[in-house]
Amino acid sequence: MQIPLQTYRPVLLKFQSLIALLILCVAIGLLSDKFFTVANGWNVLRQISVNVCISVGMTLVVLTAGIDLSVGSVLALSGAIAAGLLRNGIELPANNLYIGFTVFGAIVAGLLTGSVLGGFNGWAITRFNLPPFVATLAMLTIARGLTMLWTEGFPITGLGDSFTFLGTGWFLGIPLPVWISGGIVLVVVLLMDQTRFGRYVYAIGGSESAARLSGVNINRIKMLVYTIAGGLAAVGGLLVTSRLDSAQPNAGTSYELDSIAAVVIGGTSLSGGRGSILGTVQGAVIIGVLNNGLVLLNVSPFWQQVVKGIVILLAVIIDKSSSRND
């Protein structure tokens, strides 16, 4: 008895990211004997932690039918602010006062920076009705410029063991960044599944006018979404800075693309209203495994860009065709 393909189609579509990841892992595993090693596994997880943090925020934004191109620059500025305050503090010569920052204080300052910049994105988009693409593109250059001004174009280094523990430490045999990104995923999944906020986010992306007519405060939700996205980009910035023990002025360049790729590959629709955080996590893992595999296979960095682009393109094509069939 032959079962028609149509019977499997919904299952295949539901687990498309997982199937893609499985195929990718098997293919790379066959081509490189270093891929299926414990050390490489932790390495991949540690590397994708940053992208997971950013992509979770990006998912919320994309679910509202928006986009945030500024996450890479916000990541850089947040990391630089935290590193600068930790290393140099604030000098007030007029009062002969030096305000030093503890590691905790620097982390809080970094998170605040990201959240405020994200909030500014949301404010610009809702207050002036700007397309998210334009508003966040402007923030991309503003934040990068501010990073250059703050760092004077030089890395800020020597941040101390307590700070670097955040990005390099282990807890219960698992890298700390994996715990942090895992915690963020858990909280946001609960937020999206168990709260009114989550339902409103999906509602806005599904049909903004219908959500407005239903009494949803669109502007408030969007402000919150962009603030969260900025805050999570800041978490990514702190992880990167901590891992490198250095805030690089050009950190996070093109991270927004990896993040959008993770969201799209994870099955979130760019037109909003459809997708999930766990799908995005799968997308981030796919991007991470792909990056890792291409490096292990000694593929030229130029070709790596091409391959990543093709994968994103394929993901969007599959997304479009599955949307048509729904």
């Binding site: 006062l97 030096y98 305000i99 503890t102 204080g105 809080v108 030089f154 890395p155 280094t157």
Partner: protein, 204 residues
């Protein structure tokens, strides 16, 4: 009303706890004084390195003609035996010595013909990079807290070379003059060009 007051009270308390654990205050002049004593002095480090390590050790420099020959016949062995570098990558540095005759004096360099007839240049204008710092292999990464300090040592060493080696050499160099030199050379292991060797002078 009462509930709101409680909410704001908790919020203020929370903010106060966060602020208390985030910042600390000091007198600026005390911090500056402490910073001045603990701050890495790249100029002093470079001066000491130049006088007590690099110049005394320059006698161990490899003969440039022999090095070029070895690079042509067994590149890997030549890099293994004579090169140093503090960073990862294909750029490696050699401490070299040689004798030759000045054949041309340009705006940026002086061309020297070695005794085997091959020509090299001695940089007299653009003295940059890490060649002088890394070529001897006498500096260890563990001596530095951060890469900025390490890079500053290169900048200070290059300054010393410009002022104490290049300036008098430029003033006295004449075409046809026979010279002996010790210097640092940067070579790319993957893209090796032995016909365009530029020496950063250390002693002439």
């Amino acid at each position: 009303m009462k509930r709101n007051g409680l909410k704001y009270g908790v919020l203020v308390l929370l903010l106060a706890v966060v602020a208390y654990n985030s910042v600390y205050f000091r007198k600026l002049d005390e911090v500056k004084a402490k910073g001045a004593t603990s701050k890495f002095d790249a100029a002093a480090y470079a001066e000491a390195f130049w006088k007590t390590k690099l110049l005394p050790d320059s006698g161990k420099a490899v003969e440039l003609i022999a090095l070029i020959q070895q690079l042509k016949t067994d590149k890997d062995k030549a890099f293994e035996a004579h090169s140093h570098a503090l960073s990862i990558g294909n750029l490696r540095y050699f401490l070299v010595r040689g004798t030759g005759k000045i054949t041309a004096i340009g705006d940026h360099d002086v061309t020297v013909m070695l005794s085997n007839g091959s020509e090299i240049t001695i940089a007299t204008e653009y003295v940059f990079g890490n060649a002088a710092r890394d070529a001897s292999g006498l500096i260890s990464l563990t001596e530095f807290d951060n890469t900025m300090d390490l890079n500053n040592v290169s900048a200070e060493l290059n300054k010393i070379i410009r002022n104490r080696v290049v300036a008098p050499f430029k003033a006295s160099a004449k075409t046809g003059q026979q010279i002996r030199f010790i210097g640092a050379v940067e070579l790319n292991r993957e893209h090796l060009h032995t016909d365009a060797i530029e020496v950063i002078p250390i002693r002439i």
